[in-house]
């Protein structure tokens, strides 16, 4: 049976809808029940968390998990819709280790917070960076400059006038 339908049968209250995303079974689920469903998904043999994508739709965030099972050679897509004001979701780091960095990247670039993540800080951009670039309302007219501090830490400022002097 199609794994998305299987999840719907097991958790009828948590699955909003099921469908197909270009040959891959997809289930849209409620954000409160992500952890319970993720546990089941892991039990079903989906050992590879291939990708976490966060998308800003201006009125909402969508976060998409692509799973793959090496044993069954099956795909599964989970989609969760988040409020735009308070994008927060549970972390899957305890089930798939790769989620550690994938979630940090999503936090860094899209600004979605992952509850229960052991080390949720920026990964690609320096710590003091203002804003999350992949949000649609990110202000690209403001230049941000990164310099090195005394102890090798990154210093971010919007003033680049003294950069050449250093």
């Amino acid at each position: 049976m199609n794994p998305a339908e299987e999840i719907k049968q097991l958790f009828p209250g948590s699955v909003v809808s099921t469908g197909i995303q270009t040959n891959k079974p997809m289930a849209t689920i409620k954000k409160e029940d992500l952890l319970i469903i993720a546990e089941k998904v892991k039990e079903m043999g989906f050992d590879n968390l291939s990708l976490i994508t966060g998308i800003d739709y201006r009125d909402r965030f969508e976060i998409i998990y692509n799973f793959f099972s090496y044993a069954k050679k099956q795909n599964l897509v989970l989609k969760v819709v988040l409020d735009h004001d308070k994008p927060e979701i549970d972390s899957l780091e305890s089930h798939w280790k790769v989620a550690d960095w994938l979630e940090r990247e999503t936090y860094d670039l899209v600004g979605i917070k992952f509850r229960g993540h052991p080390n949720l800080k920026r990964i690609l951009l320096p710590d003091g960076w203002v804003g999350h670039p992949l949000r649609k309302d990110y202000d690209m007219s403001v230049d941000q400059f990164v310099t090195l501090g005394e102890d090798g830490e990154d210093i971010v400022s919007t003033d680049g006038s003294n950069l050449l002097r250093r």
Binding site: S50, V98, W101, I123, L134
Partner: protein
């Protein structure tokens, strides 16, 4: 004896980190207690740039991700767009694409093995590897005029047909490579010092490797029989005879040997592609929701939809790049530009396994294990 722990910074500028990557190592004497990875020095915001370009304009940006093997980057993105827009590709174009993908796989593994050996202190292999790589790069140059950033594979086909004199040169390359790989094996694989540096070093169980998101040749060194070309066949791979190269030892040596095996398999595929190369057009001439062009069409634009609008939707499409699973998640909102592009790069995910892999090893072993993971920092930082 109890010693004080010491924090050592390796990188960001260090020849063995293959670019700008920084390891923060907590050392207990010579033993690595904890390894933290700091990255982002090469972050160029490729995903954000993609939202501001048309679908075709984004192709050159994919070249700059994994610059050692740019054809697979082109192809992974183009494949996602083609799936999204429903663009059909002529058979000849698919064969030319597979030809470039497999040639690029050989080039990638040559660089990987060469730089691995250089990190370990042997300088012969990088000379040999770059000697053969040069021949392949000349083939690429014949194809599209560029040696590393090709911009060759496009939605609907490839940019230009095979030039005159390409096939004889390719045959020469294949014939030459066959015994070159035997040479490499003779030089490296049986070398006692090399084996001592590689065997039982950087061991990680298959479950851990999968949980850390390792893919591609690095994962196949852990006994996982999987290859996206096999399990989710794309292009003309179903018609070609090849096998997924798997080794079971789970150590650095196994991951190195998978690369050697894969080069042989790629040569095997190339020979079939040369024999089966069909006649026809190198690009689709059909029109797919194209906005009206202004100005006279040039020689290139007669083949390609320069501006097109895929129907709203989203797609995740992945291929077996030389370094692992390379995927593009493309969201279309029905305009000429993508709404969101997400790049799932193999180097980024493979790198997550390093801290676990090197715990309890020494710094030289970190370099050996890191070399077999095969990371390009353009691909990690995007």
């Amino acid at each position: 004896m109890k010693t004080e722990e010491l924090l050592i910074n390796m990188g960001p500028v260090h020849p063995s980190t293959h670019g700008v990557l920084r390891f923060k190592l907590t050392m207990d004497g010579e033993i690595i207690k904890k390894c933290e990875i700091v990255m982002g020095y090469l972050h160029r915001g490729t995903e954000k740039l993609g939202e501001m370009k048309t679908y075709l304009q984004f192709v050159p940006y994919t070249d700059r991700l994994d610059y050692i093997s740019a054809f697979p980057n082109n192809y992974a993105y183009v494949k996602a767009v083609e799936e999204l827009a429903g663009i059909e590709v002529p058979l000849r174009a698919e064969y030319i694409r597979v030809l470039t993908l497999e040639l690029n796989r050989i080039v990638n593994h040559l660089v990987m093995i060469g730089s691995l050996l250089l990190d370990l202190g042997g300088s012969t292999m990088i000379m040999w590897g770059f000697r053969e790589r040069e021949n392949a790069l000349q083939l690429f140059e014949m194809l599209c005029g560029a040696r590393m950033t090709f911009n060759y594979i496009r939605p609907g086909g490839v940019r230009e047909d095979l030039p005159e004199g390409f096939m004889p040169k390719l045959n020469e390359f294949i014939k030459d490579m066959e015994h070159r790989i035997d040479d490499y094996e003779e030089l490296i694989s049986g070398n006692e010092i090399f084996m001592m540096r590689m065997k039982n070093i950087g061991v990680l169980s298959a479950e851990d490797a999968i949980s850390h998101g390792m893919t591609g040749p690095s994962l196949r060194g852990h006994g996982v029989n999987y290859d996206i070309r096999k399990i989710e066949p794309y292009s003309v791979y179903p018609d070609l005879d090849f096998r997924a190269c798997v080794r079971n030892e789970c150590d650095s040596f196994a991951r190195y040997m998978v690369r050697i095996d894969e080069m042989r398999e790629s040569l095997h595929i190339l020979r079939q592609v040369v024999d089966a190369m069909p006649e026809g057009k190198p690009a689709s001439q059909a029109k797919y929701g194209i906005a009206p062009l202004t100005g006279a069409p040039t020689a290139v634009s007669t083949y390609f939809p320069r501006i097109f609008t895929p129907p709203p939707g989203e797609v995740y499409s992945r291929i077996e790049a030389p370094k692992g699973e390379l995927g593009f998640y493309v969201v279309s909102d029905g305009t000429i530009k993508p709404y969101r592009i997400k790049i799932r790069s193999p180097s980024f995910c493979n790198l997550t396994a390093i801290p676990k892999m090197v715990e309890g090893l020494m710094i030289p072993d970190l370099i050996a294990a890191f070399g077999t993971i095969d990371v390009v920092l353009g691909d990690v930082d995007r």
